[in-house]
């Protein structure tokens, strides 16, 4: 069995692990890689961080439609 995986493979594994979709065998290979690769270790933390914080994206949006845009929708409804 090949024990070494590349950084490209390791980051692919990280993305699967974030979603709970990495097999036990590949989880072991990933841990071995992360033990020796600082860059991929940083990627793993940041990848998880991005996923976690994106869940809140929706509640931090405060854009609104302008009164003109709203009026345009109202007009289009009344033309039906």
């Amino acid at each position: 069995m090949k024990l070494q995986i590349t950084c490209k493979q390791a980051t692919e594994f990280v993305v699967k692990r974030d979603e709970g979709k990495l097999s036990i065998k590949n989880r072991c290979l990933l841990l071995l890689h992360l033990g020796i690769c600082g860059l991929c270790k940083i990627f793993a933390k940041q990848s998880k961080f991005i996923g976690k914080n994106s869940k809140n994206l929706h509640s931090h949006i405060d854009e609104t439609l302008s009164p003109e845009e709203k009026q345009q929708i109202i007009t289009s409804l009344l033309q039906q």
């Binding site: 590349t6 950084c7 490209k8 493979q9 980051t11 692919e12 993305v15 699967k16 979603e19 979709k21 860059l39 991929c40 940083i42 990627f43 933390k45 940041q46 990848s47 998880k48 961080f49 991005i50 996923g51 976690k52 914080n53 994106s54 869940k55 809140n56 994206l57 929706h58 931090h60 949006i61 405060d62 854009e63 609104t64 439609l65 845009e69 709203k70 345009q72 929708i73 109202i74 289009s76 409804l77 009344l78 039906q80």
Partner: protein
């Protein structure tokens, strides 16, 4: 319906629907069109509205379907979201990080949720830079909490394509956040 209803309807619900659509499609014009289409569809089918769910949830349901349709259109341009085998900005031929793409430490506590609005504005802008189909799988997973199998089914893509798209989405967002949020 009377004029008053149309006005009240749009005033009550349009901003809410717009804010739902915007981070999912990352384009103000598209989001606006989807909201307008949602009202039009609801208006035409109002006779079929049974009142089993609230009017608000009914509008949300219509909008969600319209957003999925929008994602499906992006999935017909699947290849633009897949990496170019001959020119990968992130990994070299030995599949190591390239000099310019290697992640840097951000010096933050990754376990702490971010509260600052600035972060979400930048995240939104970074999401907008992704290829449409990459943004679609990312939104379906992380904004809507869908499972990867469900997403593949909805978009009619293979699991292997899904993982490539998600990998590229995360590489892109990470690099963009590092550049615009951390080291600005």
């Amino acid at each position: 319906m009377a004029q008053l209803d149309a006005t009240k309807w749009v005033n009550d619900y349009s901003d809410m629907l717009y804010r739902y659509a915007l981070p999912r499609v990352n384009d103000a014009e598209v989001a606006k069109d989807l909201v307008q289409d949602t009202f039009l569809a609801a208006w035409r089918n109002h006779d079929n509205f049974k009142g089993e769910i609230s009017e608000k949830n009914w509008l949300y349901t219509i909008l969600k379907n319209k957003i999925i349709d929008h994602y499906r259109k992006a999935s017909t341009r699947l290849t633009e979201g897949l990496p170019d085998a001959n020119n990968d900005p992130y990994f070299d031929e030995a599949e190591h990080w390239t000099q310019q793409a290697g992640p840097q430490k951000w010096g933050i506590d990754y376990s702490q949720p971010v509260e600052k609005k600035e972060f979400y504005d930048i995240l939104n802008r970074c999401k907008k830079k992704l290829k449409d189909i990459q943004g679609a799988v990312f939104s379906m997973k992380y904004l809507d909490g869908m499972d990867s199998e469900e997403i593949c089914k909805e978009l009619n893509i293979t699991a292997s394509n899904f993982w490539v798209l998600m990998h590229r989405a995360k590489l892109g967002l990470r690099a963009c956040l590092e550049k615009n949020w951390i080291s600005k």
